[in-house]
């Protein structure tokens, strides 16, 4: 079949995004031709500001290079401006006579800077700020000239001024209004902004109106104002607004009215001709930010792909200023007035100002200066039109102060809900990012940019994206627990792999990889440790532990530090120690010149800065059991004083803790496991944030499970109350064994619990007595088959090789 001919005029951000979307939906429908007036392929216009500031290069901001067009079979005409559309024969004509026929046409001609109609506006050195050509001109001027004047104190003008200042020019911003950014800020915030820009060396002339641009030898030399004053100027940048570039459409008789008028499907009055981007007037609005343009692109592509289900209904926009070191956010109606109410927080000394505007119990505007982390949240409340009456008291203090989110610390990213928007430019929500990180095993910002497009346009959400990465990947620098397939090496899920290991009685990693058709010869650093754990947890005493598939801490049985040395934490049962042990620890510290000794929060002693070669010697001299502080294993059992000494104690918590630790010591697990036992409900051992927390009461012991004190504090849930110490061992042991057998590698107990639910655990551990006893027996069988790793390695033998350095 003959392909339809799609021609696009204007090779900019909105247009090319439309093509990308079309190619996604209907890769083979069209033969595509693109005309661009600029000599470059598609670049990120937004980032011209950092390029001007010298923070990025043109190379950094290319979005689609020439190769991209070739790859997709698109014919690209650069440096060719279309001057005529003949709608009768359906052909466009370029300045140099090149022609192209179309079945459908996209107009994406953007806009042009508005140049004030002043005498002298045609002098050399008077420019707008729109494209690479303008940036080149500004950079060249900064090399030869001193005085720059920017007319217009809006976003664009301030970014231009900042860049020119960083290029070494003496910069004055002339603005007609009473304060800067009057369309984005209220007066108070604008004054704060002005102050910090003045601190950077910029000068401002407010409420000044230019009368004439004065030239010498054909180049601008000064600016004269209506009040008669003059300032020197070798470069004048006009940033007083943009005009939709609709001349071409008008000349072809397409209806225009301050922009090419389009309907909700992005069609012009000629239905074969679509228009997207800044050249468009949609329902009376011409947008000047990329986020709405990208929404238009989606809708337009949907119709071009003949799917016909998208409608563009307009956008609420928010703005940020891209000047390094200045945080500014505004959205909606922030100037208040009428029947609106304002909530204001103002700390001029601290450089923070926030104003929220409320109307009929809804947030209708926000203006933030100095602290913008909650911008995304406010913007969401605003767009959703959510009733905020219930959270109004806390609204100003941000999302982390609302509801029960109080424990979550400073990390905003962790507190955001999945449907909250992170990247306003590309409309990417937190959930999209988290999903991409987990599904594709992403680790770096670049990966996330590539996979989701978040942070790839204006970049101001970069910090937030990084936070999401950190909170998604989580503790111990461990690779992400993949939600779907285990990792890139296989399509099987953790659950499938565990089941096959059990059913087929697989006993080694190569066996699993062969049986389940791994794609890589020996897996990766993410699946190998998981497989090793699944094998030894499923077939204790039979499957062979593979040290080469363990993360270095578990291979060396000590914690690697950032300088490549190790830390050693011997076990002190239940936090109890004695003079002989302390003396031995002191002797070891002397003998090996241990640079730092500290008491851990787990009630034991940590020796830092030990060289790897010294580890076996240290272990031999200590002659104490391994603390497994390095392992996905039982770490500590924290205890309080308890009934033996404490005047409140109802139970002997110390003894109970020792018994638990001795019973479960050497237990490998999907992730680290921490226990605690308190002697009464005052709970000095903090049992409520442990994987298993035991609290003594008059009539016995309460057992809590699934607590966690990490990035996101989770309070343990009540599982059961029992009478005797023996029952505590049995119930806790059964719970832990269920976790060991069913959780995914790198799940903490809480993550697994959230997935399977406490009721499921109750059924297995409380209601099914035989099942409980069997679970407990399997746990004991497994741990009793393990040797103390330090004892093994303290004596000569194969296991010691790990610690010996070859010399040549």
């Amino acid at each position: 079949m003959q392909k339809l001919k799609l021609v696009m005029v204007g090779n900019g951000m909105a247009g090319v995004r439309t093509l990308e979307e079309v190619l996604k939906l209907a890769p083979d429908l069209y033969e595509i031709t693109v005309f661009g007036a600029e000599p470059y392929a598609n670049y990120n216009r937004i980032m011209l500001s950092p390029v001007l500031a010298g923070e990025q290069t043109i190379q950094d901001i290319m979005l689609n290079d020439v190769g991209w067009y070739a790859e997709h079979g698109i014919r690209l005409h650069l440096n060719k401006k279309i001057v005529k559309i003949d709608r009768q024969v359906r052909v466009v004509v370029a300045e140099d006579g090149t022609e192209a026929g179309y079945d459908r046409l996209i107009l994406a001609t953007g806009s042009t800077p508005f140049i004030l109609p002043l005498p002298g506006n045609d002098l050399a050195g008077v420019i707008g700020f729109r494209d690479i050509h303008d940036v080149d001109a500004m950079v060249a001027a900064s090399r030869q000239h001193k005085h720059a004047v920017v007319i217009g104190g809006g976003l664009l003008g301030l970014e231009a001024a900042n860049g020119l200042k960083l290029r070494g020019m003496d910069v004055t911003v002339v603005h007609i209004a009473e304060y800067l950014l009057e369309r984005q800020l209220d007066q108070t915030a604008a004054r704060l902004l002005q102050k910090s820009l003045e601190d950077k060396g910029l000068k401002f002339l407010l409420q000044k109106q230019t009368e004439q641009i004065i030239g010498r030898d054909g180049r601008v030399s000064a600016l004269r104002f209506k009040d008669g004053s003059e300032i020197p100027a070798d470069l004048v940048v006009m940033a007083v607004g943009i005009r939709p570039n609709s001349a071409l459409a008008e000349s072809a008789g397409i209806h225009c009215n301050r922009g090419v008028v389009v309907n909700d499907t992005m069609q012009t009055y000629d239905p074969r001709i679509y228009a997207v981007g800044e050249c468009v007037n949609h329902r009376g609005i011409a947008y000047g930010l990329v986020a709405p343009l990208f929404e238009m692109a989606k809708v337009c592509a949907n119709h071009l792909a003949e799917m016909g289900i998208g409608r563009y209904v307009g956008s609420v926009t928010s703005t940020k200023l891209k000047v390094t070191g200045i945080d500014l956010f505004s959205a909606g109606n922030f100037s208040g007035g009428g029947n609106t109410e304002d909530i204001v927080l103002s700390d001029p000394m601290g450089g923070v100002y926030k104003k929220l505007v409320i109307q009929d119990n809804k947030l209708v505007g926000a203006c933030l200066y100095g602290d913008t982390v909650d911008g995304a949240w406010y913007f969401q409340l605003l767009r959703e039109g959510r009733d905020v009456a219930d959270i109004r008291d806390h609204l100003m203090f941000g999302q982390s102060h609302v509801g029960d989110a109080g424990h979550q610390g400073q990390n905003k990213a962790a507190a955001m809900s999945d449907d909250m928007e992170v990247c306003g430019c590309n409309g990417v929500c937190k959930g999209d990012i988290v999903k991409a990180i987990k599904l594709n095993g992403l680790f770096t910002l670049d990966d996330v940019k590539k996979h989701t497009k978040a942070a790839s346009s204006c970049g101001s959400c970069t910090g937030l994206v990084e936070q999401i990465l950190a909170s998604t990947l989580g503790g111990d620098y461990s690779p992400a627990p993949a939600a779907k397939s285990m990792c890139g090496c296989t399509d099987h899920t953790h659950e499938e792999v565990r089941a096959v290991i059990r059913e087929q009685k697989l006993l080694s990693i190569p066996d699993v990889m062969r049986f389940m058709e791994w794609r890589t010869p020996n897996g990766c650093a993410s699946c190998r440790p998981a497989l090793n754990y699944y094998l030894i947890a499923t077939w204790p005493r039979e499957a062979q532990d593979d040290p080469q598939s363990r993360f270095i801490n578990e291979r060396a049985h000590a914690n690697i530090q950032k300088d490549g040395t190790y830390s050693v934490v011997p076990r002190m049962w239940g936090g109890l120690t004695n003079a002989a042990d302390l003396r031995r620890i002191a002797d070891v510290a002397d003998k090996y010149a241990v640079p730092m000794i500290r008491v851990t929060g787990g009630q034991r002693i940590d020796l830092f800065g030990i060289r790897k070669e010294d580890l076996p010697g240290v272990w031999a001299d200590l002659d104490m059991p391994s603390g497994h502080a390095y392992g996905k294993a039982l770490r500590t059992v924290k205890t309080c004083i308890g009934s033996e000494f404490c005047r409140f104690g109802t139970q002997n918590s110390t003894q109970m803790g020792i018994a638990l630790e001795k019973a479960f010591y050497k237990m490998w697990a999907p992730h680290k496991v921490k226990l605690a036992v308190s002697g009464c409900p005052r709970n000095c051992a903090e049992a409520a944030i442990k994987d298993v927390g035991v609290i003594g009461v008059d009539s016995g012991w309460e057992i809590y499970v699934g607590g966690n004190g990490g990035i996101k504090t989770e309070v343990a849930e009540f599982l059961v109350k029992v009478k005797t110490a023996q029952e505590v061992l049995e119930y806790s042991g059964a719970f832990l064994q269920l976790y060991r057998e069913e959780a995914r590698y790198l799940d903490r107990t809480v993550h697994w619990l959230q997935r399977v639910g406490l009721d499921y655990v109750k059924k297995k551990v409380l209601e099914d007595e035989a099942g409980r006893k069997a679970l407990y027996a399997r746990l004991l069988f497994a741990v009793q088959g393990e040797n103390d790793p330090w004892k093994e390695r303290a004596v000569a033998g194969e296991a010691r090789r790990e610690f010996e350095v070859l010399t040549v």
């Binding site: 020996n522 270095i552 090789r801």
Partner: protein, 102 residues
Amino acid sequence: MENWLKVCSLEEIPRLGTRQMKHGEKNIALFRTGDDQVFALLDRCPHKGGPLSQGIVCGRHVTCPLHNWNIALEDGKALAPDVGETSPYPVKIESGSVFIRL
């Protein structure tokens, strides 16, 4: 020119494992792959200097223990999307012994 130094026997490096080696002040990491090839790299991750000898060997690369960069064993270059490199050293195996040229 032909200055090969004997390091150890192949058996002394675990399969899919590593060994640390010292030559004067230089710390070198030796790697043995699943198909019994041996490679040597300067024991410094191009990211933040992590000890590659403590990493996990997979296929033809090693994963650094500190922040999970992947470094190619053949040429010491970081795998995409990371960028950086550490020095590789030629290694050969002859009748079960490992030799290195520095």
